[in-house]
Amino acid sequence: MSTWCERCGGSLAEGDHAACEAARRFEPPRFCPECRRRMKVQVLPAGWSASCVGHGSRRSPA
C-alpha cells in the first residue's frame, strides 16, 4: 500500500514524483511508503536493506 514517496517522503497523491522514480535507479528507498517514517537503510556492495520501526524490513531485489 504505497501512500508516500520512498525517495522524498511526499504524498504520492500530490505532486509529480517522476524525478524521484528516475533517481531510484541509483538510490535505495529512504522513507517508508506506508507511514512516511525515515527508514534505517544499509547500503551494501551488492544490495541494500531498509527497515521501518512500524513496518519491518525489506531488501533489494536479488
Binding site: R7, C8, G9, R25, F26, E27, P28, R30, F31, R38, M39, K40, V41, Q42, V43, L44, P45, A46, G47, W48
Partner: protein
C-alpha cells in the same frame, strides 16, 4: 594540436613528469573539439606509466549518517535535514560485504565510517571487523575513518589496513566554502601521518562543488604535490537536504576534461572513478573514462547511493581488454 597537448606529450608521456597547475588549467580550458585528443593522450600516459591493469574496489559503510561535520555535499552529516539515518553495520554483514566484493574479482575492500575521526567504539569495531575479514576473505583492506591521531594511525597499521583514504575534497582556496567544522590543513595533517606510517595514501575529492575551473586546476596541483598512491575522483551527486542539494551536476564534457587533466597532472597514480559517474556521464561515461586516463573503479554500490551492477563494469573491462589487477600484483 593545441600547444598544451604537444607539451604534455613530451613532458608527461615521454618523461613521466606531470603537468603543473598552469598546464592543468590549459587542459581544463580546451575547446570541445580537442577533448578526445586530450583523453587519448591521457590514456597513452596511463598505459605507459601504469599499465593496462584496472584496480577494482568495493566499499562499504560501517557507520552511516549522524556525522558531526558539515561537509556541504554530504548526506551523512547530522547537521542537515537529509533523509539518511544513522546506522551501524554488524561484523557478520561486514564480512559478507567483503565476500561479495571479492567475488567480483576486486582486490580492494574499503571500510568507511561517517565520523570526524574514530572513537573507541569504532576502533574496536575495526579491530574485530578487519580480523574477521582477514580470516575469511582474500582481499586487501583499506579504511576511511576521518581524521586520525598518531596512535590510531599506528593501530590501523597493526591491524593490517594497507591503505587509508582521506579526501582533501577540494582545493585549499575553496575548502572553507564547503566545510566549516574543520580545515584543509587538519586533513593534510592526517594525510602526512598516514604517509609516514607506510600505509598507502588514497586522497581525492569531488568536482562540481561550485569551485571555479582555476580552483579545479589548483586542486589537481595540490594533489600532485601530495603524490598519493591513489586519487578517487568523484563528481557531485547533489543530495536532497544538503546545502549543495540544488547544485547542477558537472557537465559531461567538463568531467571528461577533468579526467584527462588529472591524469596528465599525475601520470603514475591510481586514478579511480568513484561516485557520481553514473549521474554525470551516464552509461557511456565509464567507457570514456577508462579510455581517458582512469585505471581503477569502485564497483557495485557506494555508501548511501547505488552504482551500476558490478557485472556491467566487469563486462566493460573485458570488452576493452583491460585486465583486472590481480591480488598477487598488489601484495
Amino acid at each position: 594540436m593545441p600547444e598544451i597537448l604537444d607539451l604534455a606529450r613530451n613532458q608527461v608521456l615521454e618523461r613521466g613528469v606531470g603537468l603543473d597547475e598552469e598546464g592543468v588549467l590549459a587542459v581544463l580550458r580546451l575547446p570541445d573539439e580537442h577533448i578526445s585528443g586530450a583523453l587519448q593522450l591521457a590514456h597513452e600516459v596511463r598505459m605507459r606509466w601504469c599499465g593496462p591493469e584496472v584496480e577494482v574496489e568495493g566499499i562499504v559503510s560501517l557507520k552511516t549518517g549522524g556525522c558531526p561535520e558539515d561537509c556541504h555535499f554530504c548526506s551523512q552529516s547530522g547537521l542537515f535535514t537529509s533523509p539518511v539515518r544513522s546506522v551501524w553495520l554488524d561484523i557478520p554483514s561486514l564480512v559478507e560485504a567483503a565476500k561479495q566484493t571479492a567475488a567480483t574479482g576486486a582486490t580492494e575492500f574499503c571500510i568507511v565510517a561517517a565520523v570526524r575521526g574514530p572513537d573507541e567504539r569504532l576502533m574496536k569495531q575495526m579491530r574485530e571487523g578487519v580480523a574477521a575479514i582477514k580470516a575469511a576473505v582474500d582481499i586487501q583492506v583499506a579504511a576511511s575513518l576521518g581524521m586520525l591521531s598518531q596512535s590510531q594511525v599506528d593501530e590501523l597499521v597493526e591491524m593490517g589496513v594497507h591503505r587509508y583514504n582521506h579526501n582533501l575534497e577540494t582545493c585549499r582556496s575553496y575548502f572553507a566554502n564547503v566545510v566549516t567544522t574543520h580545515t584543509w590543513e587538519e586533513r593534510w595533517d592526517t594525510l602526512r601521518m598516514v604517509r609516514d606510517s607506510g600505509m598507502e595514501v588514497c586522497c581525492g575529492g569531488i568536482l562540481g562543488l561550485g569551485e571555479s575551473i582555476e580552483q579545479r586546476a589548483e586542486f589537481a596541483a595540490q594533489l600532485a604535490a601530495l603524490d598519493p598512491h591513489e586519487v578517487p575522483l568523484n563528481f557531485l551527486n547533489p543530495r536532497p537536504g544538503t546545502p549543495l542539494g540544488d547544485r547542477p551536476v558537472v557537465d559531461g564534457k567538463d568531467a571528461l576534461r577533468a579526467i584527462a587533466a588529472f591524469r596528465l597532472a599525475m601520470p603514475r597514480t591510481i586514478l579511480r572513478y568513484a561516485g557520481g559517474r553514473e549521474i554525470t556521464l551516464g552509461d557511456l561515461g565509464t567507457r570514456d573514462g577508462l579510455l581517458g586516463g582512469i585505471n581503477a573503479v569502485i564497483v557495485g554500490n557506494y555508501l548511501t547511493t547505488l552504482g551500476r551492477p558490478a557485472e556491467e563494469d566487469l563486462a566493460l573491462l573485458d570488452d576493452l581488454k583491460m585486465p583486472v589487477k590481480a591480488l598477487s600484483a598488489t601484495l
